[in-house]
């Protein structure tokens, strides 16, 4: 085993059919890991269906901070027949598969002789303790705690909370289910080399998805209007906002379609609300005309696109980052926009509030990327990971009532200014009565087709880019300043890629084998800063989850730099560090 194949931590995977509670128990176990003072990184994998099929959840646990999931799996908890052939090949040597002996698992399916196959009557055990075979996953998680030597306390606390609303009897039944699984796991702990130990006295950490990070940031940043249409995985933000809407004073609207969503956001923002539209690529496709409306009328809106594989319906519950060029250029004509691609949960939180400030400061749409991996992966964060103190609510050129009171000339919503940003009123004040228009217009909003006015307004709108580009950060460097290879990525790919960089560099001398550049602020592209950063790369390798290397194309277009190689993945699944390294080494 090479240094780069080395794993950090232990990965437990629970697999079953939709309806077996795979995702809830997986997420629950992540919380149990965090409560024991370890870091957990959880990733769901599910099909676009409600029952049946094959779902699995991988929980990676370690005493060190984690930024990614990884290969291989050390312990597989297999609730269905299908789980064995699907995952056997992914188990590390010395690992184990727990399977439900009540299922008819034939000897032919057990092809590995370097892992342990442990059959337990999980269905019976679940039925006898919790009164339902649905509790198989609970028995399995108890087993996982036992065999790894993990303290059972954290899992028990999660069970108590999860079933609190169902009454003491259900809680007790599930605790009993955990217990019987735990006892069986303890019996086999000796022969199982992969261990987890709780860390007493560790701080109370959070287990957070990218969805939650973004929604929290948006709420903190004054988002008070959310309009959206359910579409995986963008709707997760819509759900979070809906769940918090009454308590935090947010108006949320599940609209009739995505066209209504973007247009409602424009209407709400026009009246002065900070408006958000969460969606995915297909929904964004429908919103493109509305995006242009926002651009032409200089209405601040934030659109969040949690990408998934296309084209068209694609792979609804899977991962890709293939909307880059689309989001940069979408809608007819030319107008300024921001495009951000935060990649870590901390960056996502900041983007949540920063996007609204950028939108209002420059009176343009702000498009924020996420993706299925980032939106659904659960990462353990230290208590101070989200800097709420740093949150600012900056409304730019929004005119206060007192300023409008003092207005002694007709209000010009689209006044031509040096910066391109006009003083902004919202309807309701007697001195600011005007018509905004999707047609080309003059300073007071009246429709015009005069050539000189058209040029003046177009120049005004585009002139905003001068200020906008100053807001954009340079690509982030991770790793040593000098390296043989510089990887370049954008968005959530930074997670597995930074771990790959660490592994490549472990034990190597100078020059280091690798570093990475992470593109986060994508548009307006900070061309000078990006060119400088990319210019330091000896060998530049793009790592992207799409088929055509869209970031590589963007880099070439605006900096002239050609990448030397591309590592692309478009099978609907996120990279692991091991996969990046294997592809890099030509394996």
């Amino acid at each position: 085993m090479t240094t780069s194949d080395r794993t950090v931590g232990v990965t437990i995977r629970i697999s079953g059919a939709a309806g077996d509670g795979v995702e809830s128990s997986g997420a629950g176990f992540c919380t149990a890991i965090a409560r024991g003072g370890l870091y957990a990184f959880g990733v769901p994998d599910y099909y676009s269906r409600i029952r049946g099929g094959h779902n699995f959840y991988s929980i990676r646990a370690s005493p060190q901070p984690l930024y990614s999931h990884e290969d291989p799996v050390h312990l597989l908890l297999a609730l269905t027949q299908e789980s064995l052939p699907r995952h056997q090949g992914k188990i590390a040597a010395g690992g184990a598969i727990l399977y439900d002996a009540n299922l008819d698992v034939s000897p032919e399916e057990q092809v590995r002789d370097d892992i342990a196959f442990i059959g337990l009557p999980l269905s019976d055990m679940a039925q006898k303790t919790a009164g339902t075979t649905l509790a198989r996953n609970t028995v399995a998680l108890g087993f996982a705690s036992g065999i790894t030597g993990y303290d059972i306390g954290p899992l028990q606390s999660v069970i108590r909370e999860n079933f609190a609303r169902k009454g003491q009897q259900v809680i007790d039944g599930n605790l009993a289910a955990v217990e019987v699984g735990y006892v069986e796991g303890r019996k086999r702990a000796c022969g199982f080399p992969y261990k987890l130990s709780a860390v007493p006295g560790a701080p109370a950490r959070m287990v957070v998805s990218g969805t939650e990070a973004f929604a929290l940031g948006a709420l903190a940043g004054g988002c008070r209007f959310v309009a959206g249409y359910p579409m995986t995985p963008g709707s997760l933000v819509l759900h979070w906002m809906a769940a918090h809407s009454a308590r935090y004073g947010v108006v949320i609207k599940h609209t009739e379609d995505e066209i209504a969503a973007i247009n409602m956001a424009v209407g709400a923002a026009h009246m002065g609300a900070r408006a958000l539209v969460p969606t995915s690529g297909g929904g964004f496709s429908l919103m493109v005309e509305g995006l242009g409306l926002a651009g032409m009328t200089e209405t601040p809106v934030v659109v969040y696109n949690a990408q998934r594989p296309g084209p068209s319906t694609g792979l609804p519950t899977r991962h890709e980052q293939s909307d880059l060029l689309f989001m940069l250029y979408a809608s007819q004509g030319e107008f300024p926009r921001f495009v951000l691609a935060p990649g870590t949960h901390e960056q996502v939180f900041v983007a949540g509030w920063r996007s609204f400030n950028l939108a209002e400061k420059y009176q343009t749409p702000v498009l924020v990327f996420s993706d299925h991996y980032l939106a659904t992966a659960m990462r353990t964060l230290d208590p101070d990971a989200f800097d709420f103190d740093a949150v600012q609510i900056d409304r730019g050129e929004l005119l206060a009532d007192t300023e409008l009171d003092a207005l002694d000339e007709p209000y010009l919503r689209f006044r031509v200014t040096g910066s391109g940003v006009s003083p902004r009123a919202v309807p309701g004040h007697p001195k600011a009565v005007w018509v905004s228009d999707s047609d080309e217009h003059n300073e007071n909003g009246s429709i015009t087709e005069e050539a000189d006015v058209r040029v003046a307004q177009m120049d005004k709108r585009l002139r905003k880019m001068v200020g906008m580009v100053e807001e954009m950060s340079a690509p982030g460097l991770y790793g040593p300043a000098e390296a043989e290879t510089t990887f370049v990525c954008w968005g959530s790919t930074v997670g597995p890629l930074r771990e790959a960089v660490d592994r490549l560099n472990a034990g190597a001398g100078k020059p280091a084998r690798a570093n990475l550049l992470h593109m986060v602020d994508l548009w307006p592209m900070p061309v000078d800063a990006a060119s400088r950063a990319l210019g330091t790369a000896r060998r530049l390798v793009a790592v992207e989850v799409n088929a055509t290397g869209q970031m590589a194309q963007l880099i070439r277009t605006y900096t002239g730099r050609l990448v030397d190689d591309k590592i692309l993945k478009y099978d609907g699944r996120p990279f692991t560090p091991q996969e990046i390294i294997a592809r890099f080494q030509g394996r």
Binding site: R205, M206, A260, N263, M264, G267, A268
Partner: protein, 289 residues
């Protein structure tokens, strides 16, 4: 004291001489003045079409949006500030074709907007194609052998979607139309006012002479506005007799916005925008542990 002069626009309309939109413009101004509403207390969202340029021809807040989309823009505006009177004014192509879905959902939503359709039964600005309310058989650039589809019955659609105020006016009956718009403005919830609007350039067959010979007022025919079955019947009536007036009205139905928890404290944009308090931050982060 609000007067007609307060609503005087600066730009001359681009409409053809004799266009029914002049009547509609005047009726809207009359209704607003009668109710004592000042220009800054109102915002008119329009779509795309000849009639959608209306807000430019009066002094009022306006937003000339996209074809078929003033209703969702107005809905978002209403949810953000239900202290301002929200109106949509748009043509039949805009409201009954491209925007048909939004009309249906606005009706079932009972969102507090006054939706005025300038129904000239043709596409004017794009030069004469047939519209969702054109008669089957109408010959136009996109229907050279005659339009194949039956027309949309917009009032019947609105009633079936649960609209709480459904009316039809006529640009040739100014006072009557102003009265209907005034009632719509006072109605709690979604109010649809379909307005027969002669287009003297592209639909001369359905101009003033045509309507004058056919329109009659429901209030003079004993129509009971709270009777839904009767409303259905008259909503489907078209031909030699064309009903005008309030077709259906339900008072006291809760509006969408009064059922939104976040709006109990008043219009959204009037609620102060503040950073989260420390105890709120703590509560939100505690959810994640």
């Amino acid at each position: 004291m609000v007067t007609r002069e307060d609503y005087a626009g600066r730009e001359p309309p681009t409409w053809c001489k004799g266009c029914g939109n002049f009547g509609i413009l005047n009726a809207i101004k009359m209704a607003l003045v009668d109710l004592g509403l000042a220009p800054h207390q109102v915002i008119i969202f329009t779509g795309i079409g000849c009639g959608s340029k209306l807000p430019h021809y009066m002094k009022v807040n306006g937003f000339h949006t996209l074809h078929g989309r003033p209703v969702p823009v107005a809905t978002g505006a209403r949810l953000a500030n239900h202290g301002v009177k929200i109106m949509t004014v748009h043509g039949d192509g805009d409201g009954y074709s491209m925007g048909l879905s939004h009309l249906a959902h606005a009706a079932r939503r009972n969102i507090g907007i006054v939706d005025i359709i300038q129904n000239n039964r043709v596409y004017g600005l794009t030069k004469g194609q047939y519209s969702p309310t054109s008669d089957a058989g109408m010959r136009t650039p996109t229907s050279p052998e005659g339009a194949i589809e039956h027309p949309v019955p917009p009032l019947a659609l609105a009633i079936s979607m649960g609209a709480s105020f459904v009316a039809r006016g006529y640009a040739g009956e100014l006072r009557h139309l102003a009265g209907l718009i005034g009632q719509a403005l006072q109605h709690q919830g979604y109010a649809l006012v379909d307005v027969l609007q002669p287009c003297v350039t592209f639909n001369r067959a359905s101009a003033y002479d045509f309507y004058n010979a056919r329109v009659y007022k429901l209030e003079e025919a004993g129509h009971v506005v709270t009777d839904r079955d009767a409303a259905w019947r008259v909503a489907m009536e078209w031909g030699e007799r064309i009903p005008l007036g309030v077709f259906y009205q339900v008072d006291g139905l809760p509006t969408y916005e009064e059922q939104v928890p976040a709006l109990k404290a008043g219009p959204l944009v009037k609620q102060p925008l503040r950073k989260l308090r420390p105890e709120q931050v703590e509560a939100l982060q505690a959810e994640l542990r």
